[in-house]
Symmetry: C2
Subunit: 366 residues, 2 copies
């Protein structure tokens, strides 16, 4: 529903220029390389407001070399997916959560507001136009990348008077080739992903570039991702670009699924929220947003109270953690066999919703 | 001198394409808008290394919409200036400090290394070509903006396999119109500029975009810039995008010029370093890199031990602070009359070096 109080572009004003040279639809080789034929762009300026949204052939952006998104990280993005169901219907998964998070991030980045439903309808039209790119497969999907840039053309650090909102699409396979694989994490307090009073709870570009260096140090230590710690007590916060969950018998002897609370340094993941809502609905064990420290995890591992640790995110869905390298120790995290473990059960329920096998109001039809 | 151990482009390979349509050279109206006729670009790829550097007419960049500098803030910049001396000779001020900081930032951002002297020589050639843009004035200068972007064309978060190094120039006037004016700062611990284990000591784009929101909240409180605090004890770190100096009688009754130490959250400013070196050479008072908290500053203000507070940076040089709004109080910071205060004396010595009135090995001839 359009919110009349926000000056916004309208989906009804969409201008569509179809590509005359559609590409061959290859299967994905590397994540995020296999772009479709079209893109959506919407220009904004402080003087003229939002322009009509435009769907046009996929192609390069022409940006002024002083563009504020290139110098000051005035940029943000979202990530969601379109799935082709067994019924051949295309579905998005809870896209209004992405629209809402994107609006929050735009406010934090001093970029202009827009009507979330109008933007979603423009995205729906784009996916509809490139619908043949959505794989006929229950492991593949079409990754949707909304992006929002400050395009101010001068070097002073200020609220941009020009901005560009755009969406690109790419065909993706399953995130990890081997479904049975579990990740190894490198946990070193010397790097911090996000901090109180910063932007860790928003999807701004600067949160990601600054993480790369630690990622390569993790690989030098034989690990695949970073386990980001925070504070003197080495709080567990996120794993790579995923939220993190601990399934354990807690200090009070209760079975618990726990994830760090949204206190400003944790990205409010759509998969995170869905896992919390799903498992709370089951009512089979305690589901908690709480602080978790490395010393609590180490004690629980020693006392065999850990049932599993997994990361969650749009790209990977659910990813079990098998090892954590911390303070010179390689901590083994138990991963139960695939069928019995909680991670697999959650992944199956969410996948069944996404591919339309289970009816749910969490899906949005294209 | 070229460092043969770093694979790098060479200034000797410069390709020069002169503009056939030079612009009118207007005086600056707003900081950072008044770009010259040419720019320098150097392409890099993991497979082919550095390409030959190119000086060409100033114009837009053509970037893939998945470009990693636009999504993940894999971007960094530098800022330095060229001055036209009374002798009509053009000078840069300690440019190798910028080259060195840029190399450090590139490493942190997982962007490739280059030979600093070769890059400086390319910049010198660019300034030489656009030399008529350097103002004939002792308050104006030519601002030089080296920029370095990851230009990977896929959405995975990884070390870019493509990168673009470029330099643009713009004519700038004095940073503040009224030379007598002092700044008011808003100090609220709810926003944090940088944190241990992050990138606050590097010139990465993400450090700046995330500061905008606080900047506008400062303006809502009637202040011009943010005084960035850190930690439970409200350490004073930076002011806006400037380093900060306190000139006072310290707790031990000594006259002292103090600035926060380079502990990972402070940008190692070229002006900061030059002020420290200059005043240490004078030997007239204690010069210290030390932690300073708001409670220390408040006590000193009450006891009339503060002689002045000022910010330093390439854009503004030296900027006296007149007021700090902190915890509901508007703290008045004494600013002595212009001629007697330390800030003016330092500014004059540095300006005399930059415009060639005082001979110094801190200048680099164009």
């Amino acid at each position: 529903m359009a919110d009349a109080s926000v000056p916004s572009f309208k989906a009804a004003d969409l201008v569509i220029e179809l590509s005359s040279t559609p590409k061959n639809k290859q299967d994905e080789v590397t994540f995020g390389n296999n772009f479709t034929d079209h893109m959506l762009t919407v220009d904004w300026s402080a003087s003229e407001g939002w322009q009509a949204p435009l769907i046009k052939p996929f192609g390069n952006l022409s940006l002024h070399p002083a563009c504020s998104s290139l110098h000051y990280g005035i940029q943000l993005f979202e990530g969601l997916k379109a799935f082709r169901g067994d019924d051949n219907q295309l579905r998005l998964f809870r896209p209004m959560l992405n629209m809402s998070r994107m609006s929050n991030t735009a406010k934090r980045a001093c970029l202009p507001a827009f009507d979330q439903s109008e933007f979603l309808e423009c995205i729906r039209r784009l996916v509809e136009i490139d619908q043949d790119w959505v794989p006929h497969s229950d492991s593949g999907s079409l990754y949707i990348r909304p992006t929002f840039l400050g395009t101010e053309q001068s070097l002073g650090i200020k609220k941009p008077a020009h901005a560009l909102l755009y969406v690109i699409l790419c065909r993706v396979g399953s995130y990890f080739n081997s479904g049975a694989e579990s990740l190894s994490l490198w946990a070193d307090p010397k790097y911090t992903r996000a901090w109180k009073g910063g932007t860790g709870n928003y999807k701004m570009g600067g949160n990601y570039g600054c993480s790369l260096f630690a990622q390569y140090e993790a690989e030098d230590h034989g690990c695949q991702q970073v386990l980001w710690l925070y504070g003197e007590d080495h709080q567990i916060t996120e794993a790579g670009t995923m939220n993190i969950f601990l399934h354990w018998i807690n200090e009070d002897g209760e079975e618990e699924l726990a994830t760090p609370p949204l206190d400003g340094i944790i990205l409010p993941g759509v998969t995170r929220q869905s896992i919390l809502e799903l498992t709370r609905k089951w009512g089979e064990f305690k589901v908690t947003e709480r602080y978790l420290t490395m010393s609590q995890l180490c004690s629980a591992l020693k006392q065999l109270r850990v049932k599993g640790v997994f990361g969650s995110g749009t790209a990977c869905l659910i990813c079990p953690i098998g090892h954590i390298v911390y303070q010179g120790e390689n901590l083994h995290v138990p991963c139960q066999d695939k069928k019995s473990q909680l991670a697999s059960r959650i992944a199956k329920e969410l996948t069944d919703i996404k591919y339309g096998r289970t009816a749910s109001d969490w899906t949005f039809l294209v």
